[in-house]
Amino acid sequence: MRPGRFTLPQKRGKFVSTFIVFFILSIIFLILFQTPLGSSFGGFLDSTIRPFQRSTYVLYAGESDETERERLQKENQRLHVDLAKQQELEREIKALHDQFNTPSISPEHLIPAQIVGIKGFVPGFSIPSEMILDVGSRQGVRIGQVVVSNDIVVGRITHVSAQASKVDLTTKEGFSLTAKDSHTGALGIIQGQGGGIMLLENVLLSDTLEKDDLIVTKGSMDEQGQGIPPNLVLGKIISVNKKASQLFQSAEVVPLVDVSKLSTVFILDQS
């Protein structure tokens, strides 16, 4: 038998007391960080450790020079947005509306944000469902605000801290928004399904949905002008599910933006 130092397992009492101390400390932190003082301390910690997260993400995503393919993809996105605006304009002229609804967003209503984290099951392969931005309540970010890239909806703010915020992407399970077909005006609800797909549901059978139609936000603004503006592009229909025996029809919608290629997005501030 080889000589060596052997230790008996730690005494149970020490384990339990250490656990209880840190358990109580966790509860104290849980309560403390809901207070303004705790928030400030959290903001200080955030500003200290956030650069490491940002550096890790930049290391992974890389400083990419725009390739020809990416330039064409951006151009394609811009054309889709312009097409949605054009279709909306045509509908309004056709229906003799006297109010011209401008879907473009003025720059002073946009808060620029750098992406510091995009989490997927397998980075680079799985389609992400959330992302972390480096702006928070101190920069005017609030829960419920829409996040866009080139006038295309990317997601919505769900959690905010002093210096950072979390975004649920449009394809995440549980994401929902009222939407309409930009070509036919058919109304429905966009629901994230996970796996990079959205479903436009609760569309009346009498309405028309066509493949390759653009789906845009219907808009839900209150009297103060806050909320989600209309006619922001959500995605494009890839298939329609319509059965005469059902009450409603639905359509599969894919987003026009590959969020894993983004480094900067904009938060829509309607205040």
């Binding site: 060596g4 130092r5 052997f6 230790t7 008996l8 397992p9 730690q10 149970r12 020490k14 384990f15 250490t18 656990f19 101390v21 840190f22 358990f23 400390l25 966790s26 509860i27 104290i28 932190f29 849980l30 309560i31 960080f33 705790g38 959290g42 910690l45 955030d46 450790i49 956030r50 490491f52 997260q53 890790t56 993400y57 992974y60 510091v116 984290g117 995009i118 989490k119 997927g120 099951f121 397998v122 980075p123 799985s126 469902s129 972390i132 928070g136 959690h159 905010v160 801290s161 950072a164 915020s165 979390k166 995440k172 399970e173 549980g174 996970g194």
Partner: protein
Amino acid sequence: MVLFTFVLLFILALLLESTLTTVPLVLLALLCLAVARKKTWIFPLAFFSGILLDILLVRVVGLTSLFFLVYLFFVLLYDRKYEIRTLPFIMVSAFVGTLLYGVLFSLPMLFIQAIISSFVAGGVFMIFTRTTGVRDSKGFQRV
């Protein structure tokens, strides 16, 4: 040197989980450390890593720490009844832990992640025990 390497790997797990992946790497690292070492410092480590994760992932601060602490406590409770420093125990604990973590924090593809996590934890545990000379012989460890 080994300890320094594992500290670096722990920090890497923290950064990867906060930036790129939904796999609970920090939970798996804590599980392997707790079972391999059975020391009380696992609790402060779990507490501080939970706080950091909550800040980086914009969650309610303190929630992840609470989960880590309770989870590790229950894992170490099994030390009384079973020999926990075994590969099957690590893999089952990682599977259950990931399921619970995923339900609490709404992880996608939960079942698959739990399976992957159990294999990752098993691999990490095997590497850790072989590089640090920890033996699982009936409750005694050679340090």
